[in-house]
Symmetry: C2
Subunit: 142 residues, 2 copies
DNA sequence: CTCCTGAATCGGAATGGTTCCAGTTTAGTA
DNA sequence: TACTAAACTGGAACCATTCCGATTCAGGAG
């Protein structure tokens, strides 16, 4: 998933490729994998100091609706954004000690059963693990 | 899980059984299964009109720390609270049409594998399904 | 290249959920 | 009944997010 690919998707939808929009994408691509809106804004402002929160949020929402960005509520309450490629996805293990997110290869959906189709049609899911990473566990003496 | 049971737990921890606290528990027991803090406050104020948000939040946090209440972030962004009995738990399927939550019997944890213990010690998890309930699906003509 | 129009941006104000705080009240105990 | 830590109150503070009116701009047509 690189910048050109994303730009193609936007273009295909007839969306304007404004410099701010591209810079937000660059921030997502080049920054750490899970950033808050504020962190993204800070990064974007290096090049465009006048960009507003509104612009960042508006674009993040847009990218979400195109399945190009996913939003995760972390344990500490922060909401963080991540670039992702369409329907592919992965889940996270969140350390309660340092807040770091470890990617988890496991997805529970292949095992899912239990809701009859007539009752509920599943279109999406969310799965998160909480615990302690190796470092923090050692720090807590367990 | 009835009121007396919860009160026993509180008492065992040396926590005061104030009328406001009991009324908050009653609101959780007698109200709908997933309520926002504001809804709980409203319910409590029927009997104690002067109860503040702070009191509601303080008690909800307390009950969470005792594993008597669980908090769920719904798809619409609302945070809702639910009385639950200790380590037992269940998950939810959230309808994107009407917002209703359907209980799901399925829990993915028995199937979980994939993070070596040295790397991450799992202490908790969250699992949510999104989709459309029978009613809303029919409304959308699919 | 220039003009045009809807899309996008900007800055600041408003919103809304949650938390903080200083002062007051109260549950439980001796 | 008196004491003390716990809990409550009301309102202010906080902070992420959204809204809004005015302005600018990207992309397409001529």
């Amino acid at each position: 998933m690189d910048l050109d690919e994303v730009l193609k998707v936007l273009k295909a939808r007839g969306l304007n490729l404004t410099p701010q929009r591209q810079e937000i994408l660059r921030a997502l691509l080049e920054g750490p994998p899970h950033q808050t809106a504020a962190e993204i804004l800070q990064r974007v402002r290096r090049r465009f100091p006048s960009v507003s929160f509104d612009t960042v949020y508006r674009n993040l929402h847009l990218l979400q609706s195109l399945n190009l960005v996913s939003r995760t509520h972390f344990a500490d309450g922060d909401t963080r954004y991540e670039l992702c490629a369409g329907p592919e996805h992965h889940h996270h293990a969140l350390c309660l000690g340092c807040g770091k997110a470890v990617d988890a290869a496991f997805c529970p959906m292949p095992y899912f059963r239990g809701l009859p189709d007539e009752e509920f049609t599943v279109t999406g899911h969310s799965f998160k693990l909480f615990g302690y990473c190796g470092n923090c566990r050692r720090g807590r003496g367990e």
